[in-house]
């Protein structure tokens, strides 16, 4: 086992462990969505670090070069992270709009009574 593999195993296992722990114990900030995201991103990294031959088998089966495969994988992670950030921002905006509309509605009502 190479150092590169060991580092990846430790990192991916830590992320998976804390995501599981956070979700099961319902800690603040560890939502179902975060749990699912962690699982999708870190489980393949963990599995491929423990069984590196698996990547070669998959690459061969798919008929792709190893470098291209890695590039696509990294690309997916980036796109996913950007999407995640955007969705979060939109949700935050929606929440703020609702809060503004609610405050306006309650203030108008209070003025009348």
């Amino acid at each position: 086992m190479t150092i590169y593999q060991i580092v990846l195993i430790v990192i991916s296992f830590s992320f998976l462990f804390f995501a599981f722990k956070g979700f099961i114990e319902k800690e603040k900030g560890y939502s179902f969505f975060i749990f699912l995201t962690s699982l999708i991103i870190w489980s393949p990294i963990f599995i491929l670090s423990v069984f590196p031959n698996l990547a070669q088998i998959i690459t061969k089966k798919l008929g792709m070069g190893e470098n291209l495969n890695t590039l696509i994988f990294i690309g997916f992670i980036f796109v996913f992270l950007i999407l995640f950030k955007l969705i979060n921002k939109i949700q935050e905006l929606e929440k703020n709009i609702t809060e503004l509309v609610r405050k306006d509605s309650l203030n108008n009502w209070k003025k009348k009574f």
Binding site: K26, S31, F32, F33, L36, I87, Q91, E94, K95, I97, T98, V101, R102, D104, S105, L106, N108, W109, K110
Partner: protein, 224 residues
């Protein structure tokens, strides 16, 4: 408990055809404290409601059923409510069921959930299936199994009103309440309710259809 501290909260969005009848029925059942939140209706709902003696609030733009119910609940907290009953504005709920809900609240339950599925007579088959799917996702995402996670006919005690803090705006609100029951360890029960599916409620544009159902599930996942 006197009816003075019991408030009926009705979220309304484009219900001009039925809303006056809904209010009339509730009053006839003996409940005079009614708060209506018009959620940015583009029809005549708001003007019709202005002629009634209900407490009326208005969202300037449409923010969804959940947002409207939350605004109503914030308002009745200011009015010193002890019990809140949420009723849909399309007339599908029978106000005569309110007394059964109040009985349970008086038995020290924090939340009473009206359920359509113990007696789904007259309920279209696709709504029954959609409800089971909603229940399944509510259980997976929020951790509590209930027989009707999408029902809007519910009663809340003062303790529940104090503790429940929802963040979602649209139909996912009904499921988020289940999460809040679980999170705050509130004592809850379910009681069968009658649902009247009318042409009006079945043909509403803003009803929870298949695509909206998928959106609701996605929002439940994202907001959790």
């Amino acid at each position: 408990m006197s009816n003075n501290r019991i408030w009926i909260v009705i979220p309304v969005f484009n219900e001009a055809n039925v809303i006056l009848k809904v209010i009339q029925e509730i009053k006839k059942a003996g409940y005079q404290n009614i708060i209506v939140v018009d959620d940015g209706s583009s029809d005549d709902s708001f003007h019709k409601l202005k002629k009634t003696n209900v407490v009326l609030l208005r969202h300037k733009i449409n923010r969804g059923k959940g947002a409207a119910v939350k605004t109503g609940i914030e308002a009745i907290k200011i009015l010193g409510a002890d019990i809140a009953i949420t009723v849909d504005g399309d007339g599908q709920h029978n106000p005569n069921d309110i007394k059964n809900m109040l009985e349970k609240i008086n038995q020290n339950y924090d939340v009473v959930l009206g359920t359509r599925l113990t007696n789904p007579q007259g309920m279209p088959w696709y709504k029954i299936i959609a409800n089971y799917i909603g229940n399944f996702f509510t259980w997976i995402i929020y951790g509590l199994w209930v027989t009707d996670s999408q029902s809007g006919f519910r009663a809340y005690s003062k303790n529940a009103l104090k503790k429940i803090d929802t963040q979602t705006d649209r139909y996912e609100y009904d499921s988020e309440i289940i999460k809040e029951i679980y999170r705050n360890k509130l004592k809850y029960t379910e009681i069968p309710i009658e649902v009247r599916y009318t042409d009006h409620s079945m043909n509403k544009k803003q009803k929870q259809g298949f695509i909206n159902g998928i959106k609701t599930i996605l929002k439940m996942i994202l907001s959790n």
